[in-house]
Amino acid sequence: MDGVAAAFSHNATTMQNRLGLGVGLRNTHFDHILAERPAVDWFEAISENFMDSGGRPRAILRDIAQHYPVVLHGVSLSIGSTDPIDRGYVQRLRRLADEVDARWVSDHLCWTGVLGINSHDLLPLPLNGEVLAHVTSRVQAVQELLGRSLVLENPSTYLRFRDSEVSEPDFLRALCDATGCRLLLDVNNVYVSCYNAGTDPQDYLDAFPFERVVQLHLAGHQHCGTHIVDTHDRPVSDAVWALFARAWQRSGGAATLLEWDGNVPAFERVHAEVLRAREFMALLEGQSSGTGTEVPPSVLKDALHESESDEVLSTPADFLVPDVMGRSRLQPV
């Protein structure tokens, strides 16, 4: 690790990574949150929903940041792209992070586009030495521009390239060692990617550099029989809860957040879903005090649900589009 990486690593160790149980901030919940000030530990805001906003979304985020800890989570940094780093994007991200006192800024180990085109998807990278060197240099540059450590998330993947040579946990460990960046472990993504690749999620967790983890993600997925799609549109599956319990323990109680982006229910339902994490935390505390039991093996088996629709959408982006029509009116003057 060079001096810069060590500096960011030191900075990262001071991160408050025990924020508790948070909820992803979504447009449809704005009015409820403003009116009710629900007892949520913290919120995660999608960076791109707010960083270019001159309207209500940014004003609401500023308001929320005065009452709750806020973390920024991006989907367009494209850290693995071979396009030049979009310095304007990073500078606007930094301004927003400073404005809302973001506890940290995260994005994904992926690329979203090339040649100036954005797919708005989290596309997979081949994991090998060439790509590690490429991503390392870009993480270092972004951290310089951001003035803070970057947190990277393992994405859900549906394909693997033939020229991948190392596992994702090993790739992320090497990236952290070289740059001092930190990690957001999405437990649902682990389950989805491993199922699709035919690998064991327990092996994935065993190899993961938990000492770098500041945050965990939970979400629902759709099982399509031959593969699983990360849909964020339903409750967390039992199998993912079981993985979460082990990941949360190994991370030393990292901040945990639920993402719910498609068919988003009322806020109370979303909040109740993330609070289910307490059941698993209590089980673990019982184990450590000798009064509890193991996480039951039955929850490790996920039920197979055939897809009811061929419109299965990975990481739905509806939540990125505000309800403009709902705030528009026609009026004679």
Binding site: G55, I117, L159, D163, A197, S314, D318, M325
Partner: protein, 272 residues
């Protein structure tokens, strides 16, 4: 080609092409580059990304143009969306910009684009106007506005009044604002007959309001936007209508001024 990671650059170009223009990826190349999944082959793995790419962006476009989608019907809207996304793939880090080029694309790709203007299809003109209006509403929703600052009132001098930044003026060939708000009210408006309309659209307190205005008021507002001066705009109207300035000014002062100030057309020249 990228100076760094040339292998990665070529791979990313290939995969993006495969998403935007699926026929560009042949089966042999897919098998060369992609491992099969645990239960599906390599092409099926890539297809998961292809389907999501189209569905995600199509859905976003539908949310940005709900009234245009209503007018076209979902199947035709989706067909247009797919072609638009292929011709104009997203070039922004934010999906808010996905529909920026859509009205212009509709106009450029109208099937009667080579016909003389008076022989063109009415319904296409209507769709282009409607999409233009929807895009402007979307832009104003999140543009930098005047919320949180002081607004002028009736006692503010004309010299201190300037149009606010979150205000847009437009002329349409069809009553698209009416059509849009009929759709918003969950009604099923018919295709409206030709009727030129002028509107001022502005945002105040994070609500976007469309005010239909007369042709005369539209000209006044346009001049005000151009010159930044109420006196200059009144002079223009006087010259245009052949009336003396004092008569025009009296009309402005007595019939229009207060309502426009209260509605949020203006901010103080010196700022909030």
């Amino acid at each position: 080609m990228s100076a760094v990671a040339p292998g990665l650059h070529a791979l990313q170009r290939w995969m993006l092409d495969a998403l935007v223009a699926p026929e560009s990826a042949d089966r042999a190349t897919i098998d060369d580059l992609v491992r099969p999944g645990a239960r599906i082959d390599a092409a099926a793995c890539l297809d998961i990304y292809r389907r999501s790419y189209v569905l995600r962006l199509r859905r976003c476009l539908a949310e940005q143009f709900p009234a245009t989608r209503h007018a076209l019907g979902a199947p035709l809207f989706d067909d247009f969306a797919d072609t638009y996304l292929r011709d104009c793939p997203s070039d922004s880090t934010t999906l808010y910009e996905l529909g920026r080029r859509y009205p212009g694309w509709l106009e450029a790709n109208r099937p009667d684009r080579d016909a003389p203007e008076d022989e063109r299809e009415d319904w296409i003109d209507f769709l282009v106007d409607l999409a233009t209006y929807e895009r402007e509403l979307f832009r104003l929703f999140d543009a930098r506005g005047h919320e949180g600052q002081r607004w002028p009132n009736a006692s503010t001098d004309d010299d201190d009044l300037v149009l606010q930044s979150c205000l847009s003026l437009a002329q349409y060939r069809y009553p698209v604002a009416w059509y849009y708000h009929e759709v918003r009210a969950s009604r099923s408006p018919p295709f409206p007959p030709y009727a030129e309309s002028c509107v001022a659209v502005l945002r105040r307190d994070y609500h976007t309001t469309t005010y239909p205005v007369s042709g005369l008021h539209y000209r006044f507002l346009t001049q005000l936007q151009r010159h930044g001066s109420i006196d200059a705009a009144l002079d223009d109207i006087a010259a245009w209508t052949g009336r003396v300035v004092s008569v025009v000014r009296a009309s402005w002062t007595n019939e229009v001024r207060r309502a426009w100030i209260d509605a949020g057309f203006f901010v103080n020249r010196a700022g909030g």
